[in-house]
Symmetry: D3
Subunit: 238 residues, 6 copies
């Protein structure tokens, strides 16, 4: 999954940016609830802490944006969430947008993710097939026609101007089906890396730290060293 996403990201940015994929060494293959996002979020912060000094921006490559807001509080570089990037990009392309995904099990979580961006007022809902596919690896092949049908329904019946294809199993599908959907179709990973490049440009002259609204420096116990140091604002972690 990481490989596929990295390939999409590289195809998107070309030679304008270098993509450094990082995979969590613990946790889950993908995120589908607040509980999982809570756990994954702590791991995400550890991973960012480890790499923050050597990259220009971070893309959290899970649709639910685990730890997105917390990461922005802690680290002085642009942090991009796939869901939020897809939503804001969609909002720049049309008045309203919907999410199409591969399983009804994702509906609640994806709805929460969109509401968390603050743009729920322009959101037309999550559309999914009635049942979860047996194998996620073949989703694009098996569900391709269904995805086009659902995206078309979102456009014609729900008045969505833009369709976000949500979830890692659909990564890379958007450009393949775009011409068959009567609305703009967005690949979140592509949206995220493009927005990351834009945000690096927008913060090129910013002061460090990027904001005054940071948590006070704190001593912690038992956290991974780089994260503890970030929480301690760069001082020695206890």
């Amino acid at each position: 999954m990481t490989d596929n996403m990295a390939a999409i990201a590289r195809a998107t940015v070309g030679d304008l940016a270098e993509i450094i994929p990082v995979t969590a060494t613990r946790g889950f293959p993908y995120i589908a609830s607040r509980a999982e996002a809570q756990i994954a979020g702590g791991i995400v912060l550890e991973m960012i802490a480890e790499h923050a000094s050597t990259v220009d921006a971070v893309v959290i490559a899970a649709f639910g944006d685990p730890s997105l807001k917390g990461a922005r509080d802690l680290f002085d570089l642009p942090i991009v969430g796939m869901a939020e990037a897809a939503v804001m990009t969609a909002a720049l392309l049309g008045e309203s947008f919907a999410v199409v995904t591969f399983s009804p099990l994702m509906t609640r979580w994806y709805d929460e993710c969109v509401q968390a961006t603050g743009l729920g007022n322009r959101f037309k809902g999550v559309l999914t097939p009635d049942i979860t596919p047996a194998r996620l690896t073949d989703v694009q092949t098996d569900l391709g026609a269904d995805i086009i049908t659902m995206a078309t329904t979102a456009a014609t019946r729900h008045h969505a101007d833009v369709i976000i294809l949500g979830g890692a199993p659909l990564a890379g599908l958007a450009p393949k089906i775009a011409s068959q959907v009567p609305a703009i179709v967005i690949d979140p990973i592509a949206a995220a890396v493009l927005q990351a490049m834009t945000l690096v440009r927008m913060t090129a002259h910013a002061a460090t730290p990027l904001r005054v609204n940071k948590p006070a420096a704190k001593t912690s116990i038992g956290l991974a060293a780089p994260l503890a140091m970030a929480i301690h604002h760069g001082g020695a972690a206890s």
Copy 2:
């Protein structure tokens, strides 16, 4: 801090319930931002996973309710957040409520915590002193008069019917100053344990699991064993 909170909880429930205090072995003394809540939340889930089978309900004894919603997804017993319990209790006592706390550094975080409950429309804001006290241990003595003044201002100027005293350093202060404030004053830890007892009663006949809206069972890597097992819905964790 844990001892003080446990004492308040015990004084509140008397012999109607047993209080089992559990302290995190890693993390921070208190939580003041989304980043800290994100990290603490994962630890909270680990702690709940360890004790869920031996208690009737859980109170997450930090005002920001780290992992509250995630914990409800995973575990089949009542999970109470201090901030949410204080807010819902306040809403049952008056039309509007405010939070009074000890430091301006908490304003943003506490405001976010209240908004997360969905009752922001009845919320009159966070009132704090202009500067953070030098020593948190003496806050109740040093700031007592200020707290009364701020609570009175919240009532008279901001039309708050109920005042929530937010933050562990103020735990236990509410009953001491209540008679000097022209509004109802709430101690969140007391509200939380009382609500926990009520929720145990309300779920006495419920089916297990408590809800159908749970994340699908998942295999994980590298998590603490009890948490991994909870995520795997009781099956063997990988």
Copy 3:
């Protein structure tokens, strides 16, 4: 109806509190609209005025909470509405909740009651059978299976974590069907009396009056004497 509710209340509180049932001597058997709530509300205020000095808290035992907010303005003890208590309790047990009731005629009124709590953003709607049952006294027997089906639909299709059984004809049904519903089922009268006990505890040290935000003392004409006196803040009523 009063007897049944009192029995449920007594079974809920055990020997922790005394339940004193009071029935209106004029008005309607139950409330299903704003007009009826308006009329009943005035009668409720009269009844509270008569008993306020001899009880610790008041439960307004009609799902629409007639005069709840007005009563809080006037009287210096906790006033609990059945609908509001059920809603706030539900919000402490899950992210979202729905109301299941016995007649489509109640849909609009119950929806208004929930919106009035300010928690409409976590509300998944009212589910009812298509037609009103012929006899309200046998609702629990006649509709039992339907209620379970509707509650299950609310959980699975509408993603409600908690189901409130609304309306006096369903009082006492919740514990009987709870184990057959894949969500938490709440009896509003039980929620209300438990919350009343909590609120008495939370206001044990409060100043009198409980709030500064009270209407100015007023002379009135033609009202029942105890209510006139309450409006006159305890002075002699004209």
Copy 4:
């Protein structure tokens, strides 16, 4: 107060309509809280029930619109609330509006009344003098200059396009000061009677009853006979 309002109403409608003033024989001189509105509302319904068959429309001449929504449920003629009429008229004259009134004691109640209309998103707040005038009868003389100053502040600082003069003591003041305020100034009683005439026109061809969304017919106990009959949908009241 009734005489003054009737005079303003008559001056407003000229010979296009007959004004029939009706005064409550019990209750309060004016309304300043939900408790008072609750009580007054029941009395208002009794009064409307008594006169509904002999008038074309009803204006509830108290700024808080007691029983407005309940009355619409019960009676098949236009029911106009002074506050709601002023708000909707203001919304037709400008993007935003504010309320200026004579006493800080009214702030909370008037704010609630405006929010109840659903147009709180265009509302810029209630402006009042710092203290309540000693004598309400001389408010227009004593506070005239202050009212102009507050209305001007509402326009220039709060960006209100329209100013509603709230409360019976200010009735009739609007046309006298309008030319000195850099915004449109509205007298609620004038707005209410003009809207009543419009609503009579708009319902001239309507079916009876005016709506299908009425409470079911109900038997009641102890209510004034005409109100009981209205609740029983014109059948004999018990």
Copy 5:
């Protein structure tokens, strides 16, 4: 279309006001999108600028209210939009309202128009036939029974107390079908002219300009002379 609307307006106001119909000499026959409203709005401003000094109020006789808010900024007389007038009038007649119109193509635009009034919280949606009629001129004859059916559905199923018949092709239909619909039916052009008369009364004593919140006077290039002058606040246009 202008003739029909003028006839309805004249029948509504009788001899209380003179109706002066003005038709745009460029643009579209009717408006169904933001793009069209944007273009029409500029033309509307030109037309108002030409006639503002010789009329007492302006009704913008297109359901989408093109340039309504802009016109209020510029001109010192009441400006009434048909949609907004219908919405505010509906809100004075019932708790909730719906729009019934002749074509599914109007759904999105009419929904936006209602949301723009700020009263979307009382709105129950747009109901239309499934397909657009072939000829708009015969809509009232061809669709009459369908309109009644949809209005009845809006009342019974969607709980709308008031039905607005939207769109010029339905102008004048409301009084003809009103007695067959179990809710109040509103003709927007009638609502608009009646509101215009009310607003003239409400501003009879107002200062000129009507508000301080006007755009600063500006020099423009290439605009129609009367509009340029209005933008220049009555000074010579460049």
Copy 6:
């Protein structure tokens, strides 16, 4: 002003895109109200119609985004509004944002522009100096220190994570002062052109037309030929 904006745009995009500046031949130098936006919007549509076939995307280079939504309805290429692009970019960089601008006369209009994006819930308001500068051309020099002070206040007191410098007179100032502000400072023109490039990428494989939700093709009278043709969906304009 056009030259300055074009220079900023070119410096932002480097050799990745060609900037083709187009200036309106009629209208106003800048936009500060809905009336002006209404007029300018029609002209904007004419200009886009003229150039749509020869560019990849359009930036409407006025902070109020005149005709943004209408243009998206009509034209099948990305349309970017400066205000909306700045807002969405700000939302990707922090939890909350504020606008700092050069004159109190812009407050109302800029507030409306932000609310129109749907992200008002993350907006902390418009900050301006107390009076409008005498000469707009020297604003950056004369007001530089004030802008830094206001941006700092927005960050520290209003908790804005990101500051948008609004209005053409401040174009290009952001990178010069960014290092002196404890928050991220955004230049809207830079944000807009970067977003335009991203949107071109995101729509590279899209179908034409970009959306099914377009107004029906219409015949018009008297419009500029290219605009009339766009409204007629590419057919011959009448």
